[in-house]
């Protein structure tokens, strides 16, 4: 058929031949099969999640009371202990880490995607970010220990924030770069063509368009470091009393969960599970709040 001249009428395609019908059937079957596979994949993924959540609730919900959120840890055998200082401490460290890590990560991603596409430096940065992402959290903790804790001769919340910020940067950089690359060139060119300076284009047009994806990246990084214990062991140390000062050891939820989970006492185990439940809820609440307030300018499949 392809050898026919262009402007001569072709006979209409016959869809009723056996070959064509088999082809149609095969494609339809494959379609249903793959749809079924992806539904199956979703179910398989949701099962462990629900299992873990139910397990946590079953083991920890009984320890959740007002004391949990308002009291500091009590020794074994005493009633009324809680993890209030850990919750506040985690909040402080995570705020510090986000303030340091998110701007640097986004800026690095902006550089690679907007100013340095294709250059050797940008490729090197991308590669280095991937490598940094694979460094175990304990090595980060040891490095920040050598950098900040040893010269200062004391553990501090600031050192903990720095360790977590360093862990957030590669994820945010890579995600920002990927999402900025999905912004169509037409939009950038339109803005540049209107005389918007490049820096303004990047900020108001590219970043805003890619913002849902960038926020996903920031939230993934945030959720990951919120649950990390190892880097905090060598930097923030932990504190069983109230402390909000940045240059003193500070309590953190993952640390406290870790210590309680490894103890011999049942009541501490239950507190550990309750703490884990609270940690997950707090993380998801932060993620959801940020999404609600920042989800503008979404480019979802627009042409």
């Amino acid at each position: 058929m392809s050898t026919q001249p262009f402007n001569q009428p072709r006979p209409p395609m016959n869809f009723e031949t056996r070959g064509m019908r088999l082809n149609s059937t095969r494609r339809t079957v494959v379609n249903y099969f793959v749809t079924g596979l992806s539904i199956l994949a979703t179910i398989v993924v949701l099962i462990p999640l629900l299992a873990i959540l139910f397990y946590l609730i079953y083991k920890g919900a009984s320890s959740l009371n007002l004391n949990f959120f308002t009291h500091i840890p009590a020794p074994v055998g005493e009633e009324g202990g809680g993890m209030a200082n850990s919750i506040v401490g985690s909040g402080i460290i995570l705020t510090l880490a986000s303030l340091m890590g998110i701007p640097i990560g986004i800026a690095a991603g902006v550089y690679v995607a907007e100013f340095g596409q294709g250059t050797l430096l940008a490729n090197a940065i991308r590669f280095t970010a991937d490598v940094l992402n694979g460094v175990p959290s304990i090595v980060m903790g040891i490095s920040v220990y050598s950098l900040i804790v040893m010269p200062q001769k004391h553990f501090s919340a600031f050192a903990g924030g720095v360790a977590l910020a360093i862990m957030m940067v590669p994820t945010i950089t890579r995600t920002t770069e990927e999402m900025l690359a999905t912004v169509p060139h037409a939009i950038r060119e339109a803005a540049l063509g209107l005389g918007v300076p490049k820096w303004r284009t990047v900020l108001s047009v590219s970043l805003r368009t890619a913002s849902p994806g960038i926020i996903t990246g920031c939230m993934l990084a945030f959720a990951r470091v919120a649950g990390e214990t190892a880097p905090l062991l060598f930097t923030a140390l932990g504190n069983q009393f109230w402390s909000i000062r940045l240059n003193e050891p500070i309590a953190a939820l993952p640390l406290q969960i870790f210590v309680y989970a490894n103890s011999p006492y049942d009541e501490w185990h239950r507190l550990a599970w309750a703490g884990a439940l609270v940690l997950i809820v707090l993380i998801m609440v932060s993620v959801t709040l940020v999404r609600i307030f920042a989800n503008r300018g979404a480019l979802k499949g627009g042409s």
């Binding site: 339809t28 037409a186 005389g195």
Partner: protein, 392 residues
């Protein structure tokens, strides 16, 4: 003089070298008005002056008309006005410099960590040299150390985790982005991201109490019966080992890969999807050709992030891998990973050689990460060379 190409060409051979475009009265174009059906704004006749805000309408004409040769040195008021508002080269360059600085901070961080690792492992380096990475030993009492079993364990668990997680994550992402009813999209996305919020300690504990018995009693015998012929499932099954560690790692890296893939797939323009559907494709073919093909590079990036997490995961893995430094083909046997040994023994390491050997293990992990990433990048480059990366 010359016929204009259909879409309008504003280049004029009589243009001033540094001239501002569209000087009033300075134009050779007298041809037909160009009306294009694809333009969104009404066409302005070439040669007519720019619509200038009323406040500035006074000055341009005398300045431009009076000093056509001296337009080189003085900035026109428009240019000054725009420069003050940050439109100039200074603002752009300083912005780019700030971005560059932040990007270089990643180099600084990596170099710093590398320096610390190299400095503090010099004792062990002096003792074992590069052979450290190829020998199998780990005896803290007699001071005999080697990293090979740990490298093996890290690679096996990470690749196992990828093998399990990537198909599942892609399936979930495809489901959320393309197949799922609109109302279910937000809840299911939220649930998969919830997996990312679970701390690694909780994963480890849950794995010990729930996954290990399942492995020992249900999954292990099942795999032995069905896939025993592969020789990968020999030996006693205690529930802890490479396979359990691979499974828990895959659950942990799944949300990263699926969330990012979902976002990338949702950013593919609808025009791509519509074009493929218009050609008569089924839904799966539309996804495969219109969406997945355009998202390939982004998906690879997401997988690299997941792999990075798998290589460096510490606490959850150490609870289910059995912590026995041995190289074994069977997925049931216990093993040890680079990150786990550092996490387990660093706090208590007595003796400088021991400590420095542990730091050298950290260096080994760095090297493994670099090599794995380099290989992956090479593969991606080889596959996508020449192919267009994105739809836009």
């Amino acid at each position: 003089m010359h016929s204009l190409p259909p879409c309008g060409d504003f280049h004029s051979p009589h243009k001033l070298p540094q001239g501002e475009y569209n000087q009033p009265g300075d134009s050779d174009f007298q041809e037909t008005k160009i009306v294009s059906s694809t333009r969104m704004t009404t066409e302005r006749e070439p040669g007519s002056p720019l619509p200038v805000p009323a406040t500035l309408a006074v000055t341009p004409t005398p300045a431009a008309g009076a000093e056509p040769q001296a337009a080189v040195t003085t900035l026109s008021p428009i240019r000054e006005y725009l420069s003050k508002r940050g439109s100039g080269r200074l603002a752009d360059n300083s912005f780019a410099a700030v971005m560059l600085l932040c990007a270089c901070s990643i180099f600084v961080i990596v170099l710093f960590i590398l320096t610390i690792l190299v400095l503090r492992s010099h004792l062990s380096f002096a003792q074992f040299g590069w052979r450290f990475f190829t020998r199998s030993a780990w005896d803290p009492v007699s001071g005999d150390f080697g990293a090979l079993p740990f490298i093996y364990g890290t690679l096996v668990t990470s690749f196992l985790a990828l093998a399990i997680a990537v198909p599942l994550a892609l399936g979930v992402a495809v489901f959320i982005a393309e197949l799922c009813p609109q109302r279910l999209r937000a809840p299911i996305s939220f649930l998969t991201e919830l997996l990312a919020a679970i701390p690694s300690v909780v994963y480890g504990l849950w794995a010990v109490f729930v996954l290990v018995p399942i492995m020992r009693e249900i999954l292990g015998p099942f795999l032995l019966k069905t896939l025993g012929w592969t020789g990968l499932f020999t030996g006693p099954n205690f529930g802890v080992g490479f396979l359990t560690a691979g499974i828990i790692l895959s659950i942990m890296i799944l949300p990263i890969i699926s969330s990012l893939t979902r976002d990338i797939m949702m950013a593919v323009p609808n025009s791509q999807r519509e074009a493929v559907l218009a050609l008569g494709a089924t839904k799966w073919e539309m996804i495969r050709i219109g969406v997945l093909r355009n998202s390939r590079i982004g998906i690879v990036g997401a997988i690299m992030l997941g792999l990075g997490r798998a290589l460096g995961e510490t606490i959850a893995v150490t609870m289910v891998i059995g912590n026995h430094p041995e190289i074994s083909k069977s997925l049931f046997s216990p093993g040890y990973t680079l990150a786990s040994v550092i996490a387990n023994e660093f706090s208590e390491a007595t003796g400088d050689l021991y400590l420095s050997a542990l730091i050298q293990i950290g260096l080994a992990l760095f090297l493994v990460t670099i090599v794995v990433n380099a290989i992956a990048r090479l593969m991606v480059w080889a596959v996508t060379r020449g192919a267009p990366g994105r739809a836009a």
